[in-house]
Point group: D2
Chain length 447, copies 4
């Protein structure tokens, strides 16, 4: 079967009709269950996290959960409710409030199979205690991670608005002192838990500061296969990849090959530190993703506009989002043709904001001048389709333009970047200068 099936969106479809096992609770003064809950349903060992918002009046519940309507009743500390999926499936829950937490069971009917074993669910209130003012927090990493995973314990819990100052090792796992800290493959710093972030939200990560912490970077002297015609390849039998060491002259603002051949003497390329990786944990049911890969979660996007001043938007897939950063580049040409850019550790400072209830199909980047929609796919052609359609949708949704208006606007103004071709996903970025945009549309009403 395809990979379409077991994603978080589809998961709700597994839940069907509830057979209440417990007898109805006796009448009692209803507990206060109104407001917001972070709910978790266990589906065969996998936690499905949802934000649920309830309003209780006279024992009657109305509300929403993951955008679906919730109806039910409260009696004393007992709660019963149903959610209805887009396809009409009704999921039913019953439980009780105890110690400020809800917990209970649900039974699924999954056609054509009928009832399946009882599921357990629980819900807790969102974390309290948001600081009065945004904080700046330092985190000195001890361990580094080679997957974007929901199973790794967060190293720091931050609130939206907070700033994190931390460090990354280079793609090979070597730190600023030249010490190997971890096996290579873009090991990451993190994850950082963002309080209040729930699936369906959007993270806005502002890259405040990216500074070189080592005077050397490592790259290669070969070209990746995706860049080679069969003719060029057949004329270059030994398209080997040998390391090239670059000296980073921070004062002069340039990188130079440490041992240039005679022809390349004098080559000096302007430094422009960037984050090769920035990603979050995959959503419900998704396996951990290796840090050489990219996708809806961000990850190893290798886009040379993720520099100081950029804001990266990533869709939240797990409670707390679980944000990772790594794979610093002193600079990178388009496409990361050598497989590696100028790989080097970085000092990183990011400020993280949360936009609730906003879904995007793929990572986005914004800076002072541009909106940028990323397309990440198995071919440049598919990445191009995703990038262009992604930018078009952005303009429709956030600026209230019609299809023909979007086309009229993009035709003369769109620009593209080829972010990378060195990994499994190729990346293309569709950009528009913000000066051409109409005023934003008022935000959509939540459905």
């Amino acid at each position: 079967m395809s990979s379409r099936w077991p994603t978080s969106g589809a998961a709700a479809c597994l839940l069907a009709a509830l057979a209440f096992a417990a007898p109805a609770a006796r009448a009692a003064a209803p507990a206060d269950m109104s407001g917001e809950w972070e709910m978790t349903t266990m589906l065969f060992g996998s936690p499905l996290a949802e934000r649920m918002t309830l309003a209780v009046e006279n024992g009657k519940i109305t509300g929403t959960s993951s955008g679906r309507p919730v109806t039910g009743t409260v009696e004393g500390d007992r709660i019963r409710f149903e959610t209805k999926d887009r396809d009409g499936t009704v999921n039913s829950y019953e439980g009780r409030l105890e110690g400020g937490k809800l917990s209970g069971t649900a039974t699924i009917t999954q056609e054509p199979w009928g009832e399946t074993p009882r599921l357990s669910w629980s819900a807790k209130r969102p974390a309290a205690g948001k600081p009065a003012a945004p904080r700046t927090l330092d985190y000195e990493p001890k361990d580094f991670h080679r997957v974007f995973s929901a199973q790794i314990d967060p190293v720091l819990r931050i609130w939206p608005g907070d700033t994190v100052r931390t460090r990354t090792v280079d793609a090979a796992g070597v730190d600023a002192q030249g010490k190997s800290r971890v096996l290579g493959g873009n090991p990451q710093t993190g994850p950082f838990y963002v309080e209040g972030a729930m699936p369906g939200d959007l993270l806005a990560i502002h890259v405040k500061r990216l500074r070189l912490s080592r005077p050397l970077a490592i790259s290669d002297d070969g070209l990746v296969s995706r860049a080679l015609t069969a003719d060029y390849a057949s004329e270059h039998k030994d398209n080997d990849f040998n390391n090239v060491v670059w000296n980073l002259d921070v004062a002069g603002g340039v990188a130079r090959p440490a041992k240039p051949t005679q022809k390349l003497e004098g080559l000096a390329v302007p430094l422009r530190p960037m984050l090769g990786c920035i990603g979050v944990a995959p959503g419900f049911g998704g396996a951990a993703i290796r840090t050489g890969d990219s996708g809806r979660i961000g990850g190893n996007m290798d886009f040379n506009e993720i520099v100081e001043g950029a804001t990266v938007y990533l869709p939240v897939g797990q409670p707390g989002a679980l944000l990772y950063v790594g794979d610093g580049h002193a600079l990178q040409g388009d496409g990361e043709l050598n497989g590696n850019a100028l790989e080097t550790p970085l000092d990183v400072e990011i400020t993280v904001d949360l936009i609730r209830d906003k879904s995007i199909p793929a990572p986005r980047v914004e800076n002072a001048e541009y909106l940028m929609a990323m397309g990440l796919a198995g071919s440049l052609d598919d990445a191009f389709r995703e990038a262009t359609s992604g930018l078009a949708s952005w303009l429709e949704k956030d600026y209230g333009l019609t299809g023909p208006e979007v086309a009229t606007l993009l035709g003369p103004t769109i620009e593209y970047e080829i972010s990378e071709v060195a990994d499994r996903n190729a990346g293309i970025v569709a950009k528009i200068k913000k000066k051409y945009l109409p005023p934003p549309a008022p935000p959509e009403k939540k459905k």
Copy 2:
């Protein structure tokens, strides 16, 4: 950086020069260290497994490890040796024999960084006790796995030549009795540990028997995006995917929609049970791979020729290979256009053989009539290149043909299948009828 870096092949390049910390051992009668070892070196927490074969004469070691030359000395229970990588890097080890096992340390020099912390290594003899005759083993699965992983404990240890009889759940995790056993997404049965299999070997899995264990299969009524032109898509606003239940008439040998529309009444498609997934654990440093994905390890290939009578070849990446099977289809059209085929649990019987020291770039399949080389890539164009070049290499290596001979032979005889387009990797299979092949070349001498 790209995903090229931290793969098993490259890992050896991390090892450079050894600084012996331990004083040289006093002279003593050398222990018998000749023969074959399964060696494991820990690189920052990741085990790198290699087969090492030593010949000791007068205290001098010669041998090979992962195809690289080994030289060294034995004094009493002490061993010292070096391996030399293709790029000239020398890796040095020292250790001691104790209780039939070797263990010790190595120090890496990784240019331009100099020495890095001491690594530990160990080696044990290959398992003994191969049964006199191949066995048939039954395994009734309790748990199912949603990743192809080296971290999951094997459920059964088998010897090359053994046959395993077991069961799979369907892609949604539902078993033959209609009971949900695990979250969907092609949950797998296994892994099976094949004694003696080491990285660099090849697994040959003979599919002996695939039988339907449930009279129902589930599919969908939509077409995956990869199959749609923009025009077709724009004319089909609601390309929704709703489940279609199929009745499996084993006696009649056909599947029929359980509730056909009037137009589809009478539709009956011949049953042809196949394994959608067959895969092994990824090699050194590789993250677990979700069971919706495919690649060099095999995995979710969804190729409708993996039926009774087929042999699947997969490259071993871990000690024991760790073989998984799952995702049975009652039958499948080319490409798995609905995202799902006719998903159903199967009774599975496979016989597993081991071919030592044989590497292949991608999965291969063989049956009575054909050699079949799989291409699995992010686009059909790249999958086509891989399939064709894979079959061409196969003929060059195993049949001793030159490039022009391969071209002359394949031009008039090659056939292709589009195995699947429903997942991240598209699959194309290049085939040649075995009746056109010259006699196999004598096997290459090991280098």
Copy 3:
């Protein structure tokens, strides 16, 4: 600008509002202008051909032209009428009947430019004299053509139902006697004019007989670039293409390399003569297409199922369709990997039928067992989309299936062929066995 603009479909949009220059004709007995006309409008030197059907009652005209409504009046030998484009543009014509032919002028208003110079138009009755019974006609070619063109005079005029017996030279322009007759590049026999065929119709070409006329065929010993990974190419510096001569053993039914290497001795591949090229002239405003290319007109499709017994469907773009055949192959593997198949001249026998007012987006092929929709595009991925969507549309249109019905039917039954990768367009063919089809839908009412 893109190639979208000047195609025949768009041409009508150039015509806007008519300014009548001529004074209204005096009242007179209206001539009989009812019935069918083959009309030609000259647009800046390019003839736009359309079938127009008129009904005249009491001097009032109703009718259709290229599917658009026609309204107007007849006074004596004078006619005035308007057609209305899909975008609302009104095109106006005036003229007179003389000697059984209509001719006159039209003036275009093309926004935002206003009136443009007067156009001339004319119309004649469809050819009469269809033979009572289908004929078999022999045509011995003298010249061969290296483009599919509307500017080449037809060599033979046939009626729907007629059979043509003729010959082709091989792709290099060499005939059955080994004589070079024309420069290579798939020179064609034809064109054949099919009486009554007009743009918007469909040609059904039944391949009755394809026989080898020379005991030698020529192929190559290299693989086309589209089939090579960069790795494979880099290991094969000299992927040269040298001719390989094949002996065609018609009695034995096989082809054998004339001078096999030792490894290929004994190689014998079954003969299966096919037409590499079958095509019609491009439609309005389209430039001639070289005979190495393919597309909506058919052309160099190199599909190894265009053998005896196949029917090829091609959309008519010009009056008479102007049908060409050539590029015989004694046999061909999938994809035509050597750039050439076993190139050889053929004796060809085809029967041509005409299906009026039926448009198809791309060539189709049918045989006793299968419906086959071709996808021809610049990449296999795009060809795949076209083939699949083309077959889906075929089933929707001709069999009255809904989108979900099509998906349900194709998922378990679809098969694919890779027809060719050797030319600018790659070709993929989507197939379904006719035994799975529901009864055809009643033909659509003409709109």
Copy 4:
């Protein structure tokens, strides 16, 4: 067969061994045949043009023709010579000098067919009379052409170094006065014959001046299919293309929609006039190419850096090159997403230089800041390969870099543009800033 075969490069392979029919000429004072000739051999009606350079000493000829060695003898006005192809085939010619021209015959032996009919050939001296100083020539076009063809008579003969001032109509064939002059589809001005240009040479076209000649441009309000995901397409049922008129405010330097919707009021995009088409006639045996297409000849490249100040390099395929220009855009976003850019007529001024004996695989562009190699192919993935490999080859050939040097240089410095996706070929451009280049290598010796 594939399109590989009948190209100009391969054509020479048709010529094999000469059977002299004419008796040897009597001894006489040899005529002066030394120096350069423009030779034409007729192959089955198609002229194969080559530059031949001879040195005659004591009646012995040495020389080159299309890079191949020439040897022969002169006796009086009689000449005999042979050329040897790369594959060893010997082509033999005999003829006589008369009126300053050579003419004669050759016989081909084409294996395995043996001798074919006698060919005729002739040769004339390159044109004389190059002006002392470059000239500026005005050409007012009367006709416009919808193909890049070798069969259209040149409208003007210029010398290398000359400048041409002329005009283009817009892509729809409408001129500066709003008058339709020709059917749409990028009609071209030209062709211009460049004296001395022969196949194997390179044209350098300097774009000196591009000025708007009409205050209106026309575009569209739809997005081309290549830019749409199936999802986006399915949400936009009516992705129609309606004209959008733009006002060109030359004084203000911007274009504005003539009738903007409320949301797009205020939209003003900077003018940047560019040539959508610049191309030459295809080489030997090649059919005319429609002006909506692109390729090695240039053509409809729609690259928005072909503006004032750019130099375009195109390989010469025919004597005189036969240069065409057309399809002006007031400005264009990357990719030409609307199918049309802001289409408008232009006043054009170009200076044309000739670089002899220099072959390039695809069009190139250069400006003050960048070298730019174009990739034009049926998919973005293939265009990317061609662009990158094209730039890499450029650096190897013209700057004497090795493969690893090229990779080291391009990795951190390469940039890409997506030139267009609206036509059959997609275009990607690989760029490098000239400031990063080493000094050019000395030109290669002619072989």
